[in-house]
Subunit: 149 residues, 2 copies
Amino acid sequence: MFRIGELAKQHGINADTLRFYEKHGLLAPSARSDNGYRVYSRDDAQRLAFILRAKAVGFSLGEITELLSIEVNKSQRVCSDVKDVVDDKLMKVSEKIAELERFRFSLQLLSDGCCGGSHSAEHCTILQALESCEPADFSQLAAETHADS
Amino acid sequence: MFRIGELAKQHGINADTLRFYEKHGLLAPSARSDNGYRVYSRDDAQRLAFILRAKAVGFSLGEITELLSIEVNKSQRVCSDVKDVVDDKLMKVSEKIAELERFRFSLQLLSDGCCGGSHSAEHCTILQALESCEPADFSQLAAETHADS
DNA sequence: GTTGACCTTGGAGTAGACTCTAAGGTTTAT
DNA sequence: ATAAACCTTAGAGTCTACTCCAAGGTCAAC
């Protein structure tokens, strides 16, 4: 049996975060003490641990809500229900990675094309690219490498 | 000379977005017509194109503000000023990718460990992992592969 | 009997990038 | 004359995941 501050400290989070999770239906204390303080059971603590592990692998609170709803009556649910959630997230994460890798590629081209020296930026290839390239196509820069100052 | 709707349409964005950019100091029309309508010049349109290209390579509006401030008086600025912004962003993007790749790895382990079949989720390895693994360490799952239903 | 550390509530603020609404003015076409 | 399609403003709402605040109640120690 833990009070909010204890439970928070144990898990390295803020008590406000626990109140926030309660407000959003992720984790409610199973009891209140006479003075109105929240009282968390060992089960509550395990549910919190579940939430934090799910967060650690990238799930959003909305997705965690979905996972929890499967978890609480898992005898009525099947493996594919769970795996679908994971695979769905896996796809979203992969898409985000792909987008960021496109960014990284373009940024690398921009960076590679620029001397980074201390002469005037008037002919800086980075600015020129942003001023006049075809949107999101900086492949020109790949060819024209620019001597250092 | 373009009105807000025209310029927005040309660039495939919302007129509200242009007003938003104006409010946040990224792009103000260089004139107003007698009736108070915003009037964008060709230069304004080019500045918008700059903004959109920068967005396309992943820069946030705050970072674009910085790039624009370099761009407008580039004769006083040097190549390294520009390259620093790009390299800084490159690092941030790479860090974000690394985080997402950790997520992807963990999610893949979870997915691989689960049969995804139609039997009860009571012994689902994914739920078990989220219930009881060491936080953010799902490497156990790598070993124990689970036969399909 | 008061200090300090806890707890309660409702509600506001943060960041980022829009997006929408309300209430109204202008222009163009029919 | 009027409808449709534009434009104006200020301000609110959206999403995510907290984080902080004010005003007050509770409890243990000294």
